[in-house]
């Protein structure tokens, strides 16, 4: 029989997962994210957290609160408001800002449309329209580090994203000119006018985010849990019936028990059929799901193979 392992060195003997020094994966991910927040606090002048009221940005804020406690979070928040928001999410956003005494900046897509600086798309989707208000808010407030909740497991262009991702003054991402990231040595150097997008949740998966929410007892907007809602079917997804984007004539509205896996622009974010009314039920449902959260719920990512890469190049989140 051939032996499989050869111990050739005389190094220290490693210990197994029952070692008292073993960290759970959530502890390891939390520690890594806190390290990233603190690096930014140490190296940048005007950082901002992109805060949509979605679960990833909620977890980001929670991590930032822990990273600097008992001092307050040394960053403000920026919400790029598409004008098609879930009311539960806006209410959550405002309550959270007040609770933690934070400062919130809002960049409004609706305002850009109203003054003719942006044009409504034929499909009514506003996610791609967020790029210009986002970029201009970054320039206007001279933010030099912008925290995003993007995760590498979400999408294949995101799988190639750095933790510290340099953007030029137009917020553009050039995937061929990314800085290699070695060890935990992040390079935040940038020229005036440029900024760095920072992704503290890079190494988290959707399941990690939910497990962490459960472990930490973090409150979420109610739309993440199963509830009755009037919806209609489009491109294989349940969209909320209402004032934006539908239903069209050939689409019929029905009441279903659904929940949201992601929170975005209401006109292109789909709900999934679900009975999960508690965190544990949501975690069980996600662990068994055969669809990614973007595949299940985002119309804008179904547009083409490189939809996310193209939006990222132009300065999207």
């Amino acid at each position: 029989m051939t032996t499989a392992t050869a111990i050739t060195g005389t190094g220290p003997t490693p210990e197994g997962d029952d070692s008292p020094y073993a960290l759970s994966h959530l502890d390891a991910l939390e520690s890594e994210a806190v390290h990233i927040f603190r690096e930014v606090a140490g190296e940048f002048e005007r950082p901002v957290i992109l805060f949509s009221g979605g679960k990833d940005s909620i977890v980001m804020l929670h991590l930032a609160l822990k990273a600097f406690a008992p001092a307050p979070v040394p960053f403000s928040l920026l919400h790029v408001d598409t004008g098609h928001n879930f009311p539960e999410v806006l209410e959550y956003r405002d309550r959270t800002v007040e609770k933690h005494g934070l400062r919130l900046h809002v960049a409004s897509v609706q305002e850009y449309i109203d003054r003719g600086a942006l044009k409504e798309r034929p499909d009514g989707t506003r996610n791609p329209l967020q790029t210009v208000p986002l970029t201009e808010a970054i320039q206007q407030h001279r933010f030099d580090a912008v925290f995003g909740g993007g995760r590498r497991d979400e999408e294949k262009a995101r799988a190639k994203e750095r933790v510290f991702s340099l953007r030029d003054e137009f917020s553009q991402w050039d995937p061929r000119r990314q800085r290699p990231e070695l060890w935990q040595l992040y390079n935040g150097r940038h020229a005036p006018g440029e900024h760095v997008r920072v992704f503290p949740l890079s190494n988290w998966t959707e399941l990690d985010v939910w497990q962490y929410i459960a472990r930490e007892g973090i409150e979420l907007p109610q739309i993440y849990f199963a509830h009755k809602r009037e919806v209609f079917r489009r491109s294989g997804m349940w969209l909320t019936a209402g004032e934006w984007g539908g239903p069209k004539d050939d689409e019929t509205v029905e009441t279903r028990q659904v929940r949201y896996r992601t929170v975005g622009d209401m006109s292109c974010t789909g709900a999934v059929d679900s009975d999960a009314t508690t965190l544990d039920a949501v975690i069980t449902e996600i662990a068994a799901s055969r669809l990614t959260e973007r595949g299940a719920t985002r119309a804008d990512d179904k547009m083409s193979e490189a939809a996310m890469e193209d939006r990222k190049r132009e300065g999207y989140f």
Binding site: T8, H35, T292
Partner: protein
Amino acid sequence: MSTITTEDLAATTLLRFATAGSVDDGKSTLVGRLLHDSKSVLTDQLEAVEHASRNRGQEAPDLALLTDGLRAEREQGITIDVAYRYFATPRRRFILADTPGHVQYTRNMVTGASTAELAVVLVDARNGVVEQTRRHAAVAALLRVPHVVLAVNKMDLVDYEETVFAKIAEEFTAYAGELGVPEITAIPISALAGDNVVDASANMDWYGGPTVLEHLETVAVSHDLAHCHARLPVQVVIRPQTAELPDYRGYAGQIAAGTFRVGDPVTVLPSGKTSKISGIDLLGKPVDVAWTPQSVTLLLEDDIDISRGDLIVPTPDAPTATQDIEATVCHVADQALTVGHRVLLKHGTRTVKAIVKDIPSRLTLDDLSLHPHPGQLVANDIGRVKIRTAEPLPVDAYADSRRTGSFILIDPNDGTTLTAGMVGESFAAPEPVKTEADDEGWDF
């Protein structure tokens, strides 16, 4: 999946590992199979891959499309950049840095290996150990990746012959051992047929070891790091200055190595001032002991001047600060590194001015031949450099601490990350490197 409870899911540990190899070795197939057979590729991702494969005129779904995320990669059919992939089993969560194996992407392999606790090196059983295999072993050895797996792939094409596997395993183990790789596990597999990747092979009953996934799930992650020299690079000083906490002053950072305990006498570098740990905040929870890689806030008995960039260490175990650093580097930028180059050096949380005093040699990883005084290092070159820093730095040898023995060089003008550096000797073994410049051969 239905038998997994949420407690089981939350109790797993994390393993970061890297794969090196080329499409020809079947790397994408292996990665695809690990993801697929561990049910980490979801239906919509598979459908997207099937759709894209059909558009390209391929009949079978090309699993490489799962990891080749950029348009340029798909157009050229090559992997350009490190792709991070995530999958989980009930026992562990995995972060896979999937790196392209070609020589011009050495920097990506180095990047992926820098945070990896395990590296999987692939060889084609028909070809055995080739130049590229030796390069991958050398990168793993240079970066001090604690565990290396040799996956001898395409065993189905050599009739699952034990002697073929044993010869390759022996040759590789001898070579990697000579480079100082501490632990090598050789596994005969067929990624295409699925032998010994997730499930044990029915075709190789002569093999008694673990499958690739079993090994990944059970390999002992080096929590022994907690026993090494304790190091805390200070990231920020936390001072709430509120009515309730007027005097709170905490030094926040991620423990880079070792263990800190309340009561430990500590020294702050570079100032050399000493104090005692009076408290440790573990993200809001007071604890008596904390270890790497926990992010903590240390409280000290004395009010001494400490700021970002300082290093807190146990007083009996302080490193010597030096302005002259000798290191092995991997050059990662398109612009060359030359003697006399003025750069910024980031070590831990401290960034200082530095100058490249000398480049004594360049190392060819394929055959470990040494080329004296190359004058410059270009992208993907590995070499030895001597650096003089503007201020003394408390560096450790990379062999002792991957985190506090490493640094990056940054171009002060445009901020480019130029070079990745590892302080001290290149390899754990004494002298595996040949000094002749022109000898191309490698004899066993």
